[in-house]
Amino acid sequence: MKLLSYFRGEAFQRGVHPPSCKLTASTKIRRLPFPPKVIVPLSQHIGKVPRAIVKVGQEVVRGEPIARTDDWLSVPHHAPVTGVVEFIGLRPGVRGPWVESIVIRAYPAATQEDLWGQPRDLAAASGGDILQAIWDTGMVGLGGAAFPTHAKLTVPKQAKVHTLVVNGCECEPYLTCDHRVMVEQADDMIVGTRYAMRATGAVRAIVGIEDNKPDALAAVRAAISRAGAVPEGEIHAELVPTKYPQGSEKMLIMALFGIEIPAGGLPVSLGMVVNNVGTLAALGKLLPAGRGLTERVVTITGPGVAKPGDYIVPLGTPLRFVLDYAGAPGADARQVILGGPMMGQAAASLDVPITKGMSGVLVLLGDALDRNERLKTYPCIKCSECVESCPMGLNPSQLGMLAAKREYDLMGSHYHLGECFECGCCTYVCPSNIPLVQQFRVAKQILREKAIAK
C-alpha cells in the first residue's frame, strides 16, 4: 500500500518491491578457472570502438593491452589470459549481432599471473594524472551501464563537483556481486573512492547501501574507520531503503539528499558524481599496480544453477564455460539472462563472452517461466498500478495505450517518454500483463531514429 510507503519514510515515491531472491548473499567470492579460450569483444562499453593492436599468432601475457584508441570516449582492453591470439574477427555478441572480437587461446601451463603492469606512485598525482591512469586501466562502470569511468569522473569545465556518491544499492533481485565486494573488498573500495575523490575534486564521499545489506554497511564503516582521516575529505556510509530501482542514480540521490535531479540533467549539475562500488573497488586494486581490467566479479545464480555464487571471472570467458562450471543443468528449456531479472538481457547464444558491464548471469528454468507464459493479456483496466509504481512519475497506462496506436510522437512530446529509463516496474506490476516497457523501448528507438533522420 502506497500510504504505508509514505509512513515508512521511503525516500523516493513509487517503485516496486520484487522478491529479493539474493541466494548468494552469504557465499564468499570464489575464483573461476581460466577457460581454454577467451573472446574479447572490441565494443564492451558506451562510446567508440577501440581497434586491435595485436596480430593473429602473437603471444600475449595477461594484462597486456590488446586494443586501444585515442578517442576520449573509449577505453583500451587488456588480455585476460596469457596465451596466443588465435583469431580476430566476428563472433556472436551479447546484443545479438556478431561483433568484432579478439579470440585468445590460453596456454594451459601458464600461471596466469598478471605479468604486465606499470606501477605508478599516485600519492602525489594530480587529478589529471589519476584520470589518465584510470583511462589506462580500461575501466568502465561495472554496475551494468558500462560507461567509461574516466569520462564519468571528468568534471566539465563550467561545473564543480563536491560530492562523490558511491552506489552500493544493488536493487536488482538475485544479484549480490556488489554486496560481496563491499563485504570482502571494502578496503580496496575506500582506496578507489579516495582516487575518485582526487580525480573529481570532491570533498565528500557517501556510500549508499540498501538496508537489506547491514553486513555490507558494517564492513564499509569498519574500512572507513581503518582508513582514518583521509586528506581527500570525509567518507560516510549510509543506509537507504530497499526498493527497486533504488540503484538508479537519480533515485539514490533522492534518497540521500532529498533532491530531484532536474529532468534532462546529470548529477554533475548538482555537483555530484555517482559511481558503483564494484568499479571503485576494482580501481583501488588496479590503479596502484597500474594494471588493466582483466577480470570482474559476476553473480552466477538463479533456480537453474547448482552452485550459485559470486565468481571472479576472467573477461571474455564464454558463457557456456561459466555455466558448466557453476553447474547449470542442461536439458531443461531455460532462459539465460545477462544482468538482473528486471533489466537484464536474455542471451541469444551460450557462445557469448562475459564482458565488462555484466554483473550477473541468471539462469531461469522452464517452470519458473511457465507461469508468465500462461498469463492472459487483457486490455488496460486502468487500475493505476503502473502510475503508482513508475519511479519517474510517468503515466505508463496512457503511454501504453498510445503505443498500441503507434502515436510515438505524442508519447514523446506530451507524455515525457524521454524520461523513461526502462526500469520495468510498469510491466512488473501490470495485472493485465501488457508489455508496457517493451513497447516503450520500441517507441524510444523509433523516436531516436526519427531524430537522427531529421
Binding site: 533532491i259 529532468a263 555537483g271 487483457y378 486502468k382 515525457h416 512488473y428
Partner: protein, 389 residues
C-alpha cells in the same frame, strides 16, 4: 539445448486481473449474505437471476464479438452482484434479467469489453431500468419481514411484460402501512421524516427499507483498500466531499436540510462510493484525478438529492463522473520526476539524510543554486554549520 529470448523484465508481479476481480467478488459476499438475511428469498432470487443474466450476456458477446476477457475473469459477476444490490429486493425478476442484459450489452460489450467501458456497466443497467420501469424501481419493501424465508415478495414473480402485483395489499395483510415501503431518503424528501444516522449505519433496527448495512460495506471496502484491490482515494474523496457539502448546507439552514450523517449513510452513497465509483476502468488512472473525480461525485450526489425531483442521486452522480473521467485525466497527468516545483527550484525535500552541499563549501564553489541547508541531529557535525546558524 534451447534457450529462450524474452525482453526484460523477466519476472512478473503476483497481481492479475482475475485476482483483483476475484477479491472484489469475495469482499461482496458478506454484503450479499446480509442482504439475503434482510429480505429473504426474493433477494436471493434477484441476486442469482441478475448475475446469471450478466454472465450469459457476457459469454454471448465475448464469443460473438471476439472481445478479450471471459466470464472467468469475474468482472461480469461484480456487475451482476452490484446491480442486484442496487435495485429493490422485490424488483420483478424478468426486469432484473433485462437490467443485467442491458448492463453488459450496452454498458460494456458495446464499447469493446473489459477495460474499454466508459460507464460503470451496473449503473448503465440500473439507469436503463429506472427509465423503463420507474414504478417498479421505486417500490421498496420493509426489511426483516416475518416469513421472508418462506415466501417471495409478490412483485418478484411478475410475468414478463405484465404489470407486477401491487405490494400495498400484501403489506397491509402483514399489518404494515403504505409508508413502510418507502426508503429513508424518500421519506425525508417527500414526507419530511428523518431516521437517525446510527440506525442507518447498521440497517438492523426496525423494518427500514434500506440496502445492506453501510457499516458492513465500509468494513469490506476497508479490506479491499488495505489489500490495494481498490484505491482508497476515491471513496475518501466522495464521502469527504459529500459530507462537507451536506454539512455546509446543514450549517446554513438546519431546518431545511438533514444532518450530514443522514446524507452519508442513507441511500446508496456508501455502496456507490466504495464499490461503484471505484470501478477501475471508468475512474481516472491518475492519483490527483481520483481526488477530483471523487469530489465531483460527492458534490453532485448532494446537489441531486437536495435540489432535484429525485430522492436518490448517487447513480447519476457517478455516471456523470464517469463521463468526466477522460477530461479529468487530461488535466491531472502526474508530474515527472525532475519536473516538480521542488526540482525546478533546486530545493531539497524535508528529512533528507545529508545536506546537498558539505557545510564548508562556499556558495560560489557549489556552482549551482544553494538550497536551504538541512541537518539532522545524528549526522556528522560540521563546525562551520554552527557558525552560520
Amino acid at each position: 539445448m534451447t534457450i529462450e529470448i524474452r525482453s526484460a523484465p523477466h519476472i512478473k508481479g503476483e497481481r492479475t486481473v482475475e485476482q483483483i476481480m476475484r477479491h472484489v467478488v469475495w469482499s461482496l459476499m458478506p454484503i450479499c449474505l446480509f442482504y439475503v438475511y434482510q429480505y429473504g428469498l426474493s433477494a436471493l432470487a434477484s441476486l442469482v437471476v441478475v448475475t446469471a443474466s450478466c454472465l450469459a450476456t457476457e459469454r454471448f458477446f465475448v464469443r460473438q464479438g471476439g472481445q478479450s476477457g471471459d466470464i472467468g475473469d469475474f468482472s461480469a459477476v461484480i456487475t451482476g452482484l452490484l446491480l442486484a444490490l442496487s435495485i429493490p429486493p422485490g424488483f420483478p425478476l424478468w426486469m432484473g434479467a433485462v437490467a443485467g442484459f442491458v448492463a453488459i450489452a450496452l454498458g460494456k460489450a458495446l464499447f469493446g469489453g473489459i477495460g474499454f467501458n466508459v460507464f460503470n456497466p451496473a449503473l448503465v443497467g440500473r439507469a436503463f431500468v429506472q427509465a423503463a420501469f420507474p414504478q417498479a424501481i421505486a417500490s421498496y419493501t420493509p426489511s426483516f419481514l416475518p416469513g421472508r424465508f418462506s415466501e417471495m415478495i409478490p412483485s418478484s414473480m411478475a410475468i414478463p411484460l405484465m404489470q407486477p402485483a401491487g405490494i400495498v395489499e400484501w403489506l397491509k395483510a402483514k399489518q404494515f402501512d403504505a409508508l413502510a415501503g418507502a426508503t429513508p431518503l424518500a421519506k425525508w424528501k417527500f414526507d419530511g421524516i428523518l431516521v437517525n444516522a446510527d440506525e442507518l449505519l447498521t440497517s438492523l433496527s426496525g423494518h427500514m427499507a434500506v440496502g445492506p448495512s453501510p457499516a458492513l460495506i465500509l468494513l469490506c471496502g476497508a479490506y479491499l483498500a488495505f489489500r490495494r484491490f481498490m484505491d482508497w482515494r476515491i471513496p475518501t474523496a466522495i464521502l469527504g466531499s459529500a459530507g462537507l457539502t451536506a454539512w455546509l448546507l446543514f450549517a446554513l439552514s438546519p431546518d431545511r436540510f438533514p444532518n450530514p450523517f443522514f446524507m452519508l449513510f442513507s441511500g446508496g452513497l456508501i455502496l456507490g462510493a466504495i464499490y461503484m465509483a471505484t470501478d477501475m476502468a471508468t475512474s481516472p488512472v491518475t492519483p490527483k484525478g481520483m481526488w477530483v473525480y471523487g469530489a465531483l461525485i460527492g458534490l453532485l450526489t448532494v446537489i441531486i438529492r437536495y435540489y432535484s425531483g429525485l430522492p436518490e442521486g448517487v447513480m447519476y452522480a457517478i455516471l456523470l463522473g464517469n463521463a468526466a473521467t477522460p477530461l479529468i485525466e487530461k488535466i491531472t497527468q502526474p508530474t515527472p520526476f525532475g519536473k516538480s516545483a521542488l526540482a525546478v527550484l533546486g530545493r531539497a525535500r524535508k528529512g533528507a539524510s545529508y545536506p546537498l552541499h558539505p557545510g564548508y563549501i562556499s556558495r560560489e564553489d557549489a556552482g549551482a543554486v544553494t538550497p536551504k541547508k538541512r541537518f539532522l541531529s545524528n549526522k556528522p557535525k560540521m563546525q562551520e554549520r554552527d557558525k552560520e546558524s
